[in-house]
């Protein structure tokens, strides 16, 4: 390079150490943006308004249109890819402010904890008390089916990641997509571990896939996942179906009410800790989902009432499907001899009612009129009985 000796040690080179007149006192980025808190946060500075929307996408600052469209003319991002409306997409924030750095840091911590848990469980032989039937049938069967369920949820988030109209929402969706894929991978990690220490265990996916594809327990859940992943094109509806309806009902029922409660009854203290990370992911998603549907859309000064009506319409469409999936999964309550003995270890109907009560507490205010979720649950149960008969 030219004049190499002059700048070999650039950092401390006095040649660059000059004091220029300061031209501008305003140093905080995004002076034009409305901060979520009292002042613009680091999360907002590294993300907000990265999305280059023209002004005909609400909140966009640009002019003109997109220069390159899909064959047929669909532009890079379009208002018509969702029925939801807002006066400003850039109002949305993830209340946890999960940009990339805190996200990967938390996830790396989780896996370090898992590795320590595996080592501790192995060296203390804590796995020895696990009911063999639970290991073979539930952990290496049904738990693996739940991994496929989460894999499908991860795939269903591809379109919202591509199509959503604002940067802050895109980052939140990406974190949740990773969480779902990670849920599946954590379950597989548990199976790989168990296969090393238990004769009843296998790391093979095939038995779980057979349950996922062919067993009644999972048929309705698979239908919901495939319905979201496949024919649902509205990216905001996908988020609604997944995280307002399906995960808080079906996911909560299977993870929190069945697996995490029934595992200790079978001597399994390992699985609840693994599933705790999925619960944490679901709660992180819940935080930004409420921000999206309650504040950005439901609280929009112009389109709030419209969005609440739209959400009611979506709820009527998706609730029966996810409640059906929950009803189907109630069969897990007889998966082992211990559960079949019916000693009150797992009361599926009571668990379903608890999940529905919690759902009403958390989401009921999103809608423009009351939702009879218990009536919908009864209908789903009757339908399930009729189909079984």
């Amino acid at each position: 390079m030219e004049h190499a000796p002059d700048f070999r040690r650039t950092l401390l080179n006095p040649r660059f150490d000059t004091h220029e007149t300061v031209l501008e006192e305003r140093r905080a980025p995004l002076s034009f943006a409305m901060p979520y808190g009292t002042r613009i946060s680091e999360y907002e500075q590294v993300l907000l308004y990265a999305q280059p929307n023209p002004d005909w996408i609400p909140g966009g600052l640009g002019v003109g249109g997109w220069a390159t469209a899909f064959p047929g003319g669909r532009g890079a991002w379009e208002n018509y890819t969702t029925e939801a409306k807002t006066t400003d997409w850039f109002v949305f924030r993830d209340p946890e402010g999960r940009w990339q750095r805190p996200y990967v840091s938390e996830k790396a911590d989780e896996w370090r904890e898992i590795q320590r848990l595996i080592t501790t469980t192995a060296t203390r032989r804590s796995y020895r008390g696990i009911d063999p039937e639970w290991t073979g049938k539930v952990l290496c069967g049904h738990l693996g089916a739940l991994a496929l369920h989460d894999y499908g949820m991860f795939m269903a988030l591809a379109a919202p990641t591509r199509d959503c109209l604002v940067d802050t929402l895109r980052a939140a969706i990406v974190a949740t997509a990773l969480d779902h894929l990670d849920n599946a991978q954590m379950i597989q990690a548990e199976k790989v571990f168990l296969a090393q220490v238990s004769d009843q265990a296998t790391a093979e996916i095939a038995p779980s896939k057979a349950l996922w594809l062919e067993d009644d327990t999972w048929a309705q859940a698979r239908r919901v996942v495939e319905e979201i992943w496949g024919p649902t094109y509205d990216h905001i509806e996908i988020l609604f179906a997944m995280h307002v309806i399906h995960e808080p009902l079906f996911g909560r029922f299977v993870r929190d009410e069945f697996l995490m409660q029934a595992a200790p009854l079978h001597g399994d203290l390992f699985t609840p800790r693994i599933l705790g990370y999925a619960a944490r992911g679901a709660e992180a998603a819940h935080a930004w989902i409420m921000e999206l549907f309650a504040r950005t859309l439901g609280g929009d000064p112009k389109f709030g009432p419209y969005n609440r009506t739209l959400m009611h319409f979506w709820a009527e469409k998706w609730l029966p499907l996810s409640l059906g999936a929950m009803t189907g999964a109630a069969k897990l309550g007889s998966a082992t001899a211990r559960l079949r003995r019916g000693d009150g270890a797992f009361d599926a109907q009571a668990a379903q009612r608890r999940v529905c009560d919690d759902w009403l507490d958390r989401f009921g205010l999103l809608f423009d009129k009351p939702i009879d979720i218990h009536g919908a649950l009864r209908k789903a149960s009757v339908q399930a009985r009729e189909e079984a008969a």
Partner: protein
């Protein structure tokens, strides 16, 4: 058997032990197909080579983050690294960091489109890692701007660029190439644009070569961030390679691939080549190798020769437009700087005309520069266009000499020729600049193209390229009104963010600009790009 193993503390579950099962996680769901259909067929058995799972990926990225953010917020902050940068270079970084942020941001969506489109679970897993990488890179570039803004003496341009970029005609070319081409179209075209060309070809000269140049100009911040970014790019190049692997075995796919590769290469070249060359040669005070040589080494030889050579056994050849791009890599950055300087009120940073030392360097490395571009720059210097007291703009001299800036409908790049033309290209009355300008009419509008290659893309799929360009959007607007409307002023509401010099005094204001009495015109209908009232 189980107890024997369990006594051993080595019972562990490595990332590879989990990854090897991923390929079994997919299933064929009836009615489930990608929302982004492709004319290509993907091989569902395609593997990927990095074999990461989410946990291992995050562990790796956390460590990289700790090193990068740690150095920035600790050592470099105490040394006030942002204050030691050559001003001309720091100003160039305002443009480059915003351009690159745009590309990284769009790549989040582009990689998601790809993971939806392919059918191999391993491939999806690789693309998802790229999705999070692109979130990382977007955040890193946002942080880099925030960092410069906190230390460099002129933070304007780092602070509110996400607003005033929309008044920048050069931004539209970047948005087209590094954003829309990454998110719109056939998934394989997206992969070609993003992974095979932008990442595998151009990130090397952009990100790697730029770190050397940055350090030579007192900037240790950019290398710290860029090298951390580049450490992820290898994975993205591999993703591009695996996209190709997943389609090349199918003979039906091959009927499209060569043309799609050439289109992608041309779009990416039109965005990267002049912009990076301009930043390197007109943004640096201390220069390294000439851009033409850097381009030859990284793009022509390494990518066009070695990288593309891997695909020759499948019948895929280097793009046929590579030689045309090579010609533009010699002169294109000088024309691009001329366009940038001519449009200076909109560009979001401060620039200056080449000094006598710079002129010597340019003539030495680009013989003929002094008699072509150099003369234009000297003329602007003589006219005192940098001084607001003179009430004159560079575009006035261009207009007087019948050099009108047009914009290509497809690649959105500025069409202005002040350097020697391609051999065999002659100036005519219709095309007085002697460049490759082409004009056609379609659907009641006139469309300009920079080259045969962009014209070919338009004629094949005109419905994909319909947007208004800068000159059409602002046809009839007086220059200061555009700056005012798009937020290109400092906190006093009057002084422009952009300036045609690096001085601390004689800064242009909206009133100075308005006093020039110049309006934008659409050259395709008015015959000129600017009018003086």
């Amino acid at each position: 058997m189980a107890d024997g193993i369990a006594m051993n503390r080595d019972v562990k579950v490595a990332a590879q032990d989990v990854h090897r099962w991923l390929q079994d996680m997919g299933w064929n769901a009836p009615g489930v197909r990608s929302k982004y259909p492709s004319k290509y067929r993907f091989n569902p058995g395609t593997r990927e080579q990095f074999k990461l799972i989410v946990g291992e990926y995050c562990r790796m990225e956390e460590e990289k983050d700790d090193r990068q953010y740690g150095s920035l917020s600790d050592g470099m902050a105490r040394l006030e690294a942002g204050r030691r940068v050559e001003p001309r270079w720091a100003e160039a970084m305002k443009f480059v960091s915003n351009f690159l942020e745009m590309g990284e941001y769009a790549s989040i969506a582009g990689s998601a489109l790809l993971y939806d489109a392919v059918t191999s679970p391993e491939q999806r897993n690789g693309y998802l890692a790229q999705v999070e990488d692109e979130v990382r890179h977007t955040n890193q570039l946002g942080y880099l701007k925030k960092y410069f803004a906190s230390q460099y003496h002129d933070p304007a341009g780092f602070t509110d660029a996400r607003r005033h970029r929309y008044g920048n005609p050069l931004f539209m070319s970047n948005r087209q190439q590094a954003c829309e081409a990454f998110v719109s179209g056939d998934p394989v075209q997206v992969s070609l644009n993003l992974q095979m060309v932008a990442e595998a070809c151009f990130t090397n000269p952009l990100v790697v070569a730029m770190t050397q140049l940055a350090a030579a100009n007192g900037d240790e911040i950019t290398p710290t961030v860029f090298l951390s970014i580049q450490s992820d790019e290898l994975r993205h190049m591999a993703n591009g390679y695996h996209t190709m692997v997943s389609v090349v075995d199918d003979a039906d796919n091959m009927q499209y691939l060569q043309t799609d590769l050439e289109n992608a290469f041309w779009i990416q070249h039109k965005g990267f080549t002049p912009m990076v060359g301009r930043a390197f040669e007109y943004g640096a005070v201390n220069r390294g190798d000439p851009w033409a040589e850097t381009w030859d080494r990284w793009v022509y030889e390494d990518w066009g020769g070695i990288w593309m050579g891997r695909f020759s056994r499948f019948g895929l050849e280097s793009p046929r437009n590579l030689p045309d791009a090579k010609f533009e890599a010699y002169w294109g950055q000088h024309d691009a700087f001329a366009a940038m300087f001519a449009l200076w009120p909109f560009i979001g940073c401060r620039i200056e005309l080449p000094t006598p030392r710079d002129q010597d360097w340019f003539e030495k490395h680009y013989p003929g520069w002094g008699d072509s571009a150099g003369q234009v720059f000297q003329e602007w210097e003589r006219q005192g266009v940098a001084d607001p007291a003179n009430r004159t703009m560079p575009v006035e001299w261009l207009t007087a000499n019948k050099k009108h800036i047009a914009m290509c409908r497809v690649c959105q790049s500025t069409i202005l020729k002040v350097t020697p033309g391609r051999p065999g290209t002659v100036a005519t009355e219709r095309n007085p600049t002697g460049c490759d300008l082409r004009i056609t009419e379609y659907a009641g509008r006139r469309h300009a193209f920079c080259s045969h290659w962009c014209e070919r893309m338009f004629l094949t799929e005109p419905e994909r390229y319909t947007a208004q360009n800068f000159f059409e959007i602002f046809d009839g607007w007086e220059l200061s009104e555009i700056v005012r409307a798009t937020g290109g002023v400092r906190s006093d509401g009057q002084t422009l963010v952009a300036q045609p010099h690096l001085r601390s005094d004689r800064l242009w204001t909206l009133d100075d600009l308005a006093a020039c009495r110049i309006s934008i015109r659409n050259p395709l209908t008015a015959g000129v790009s600017f009018e003086k009232h």
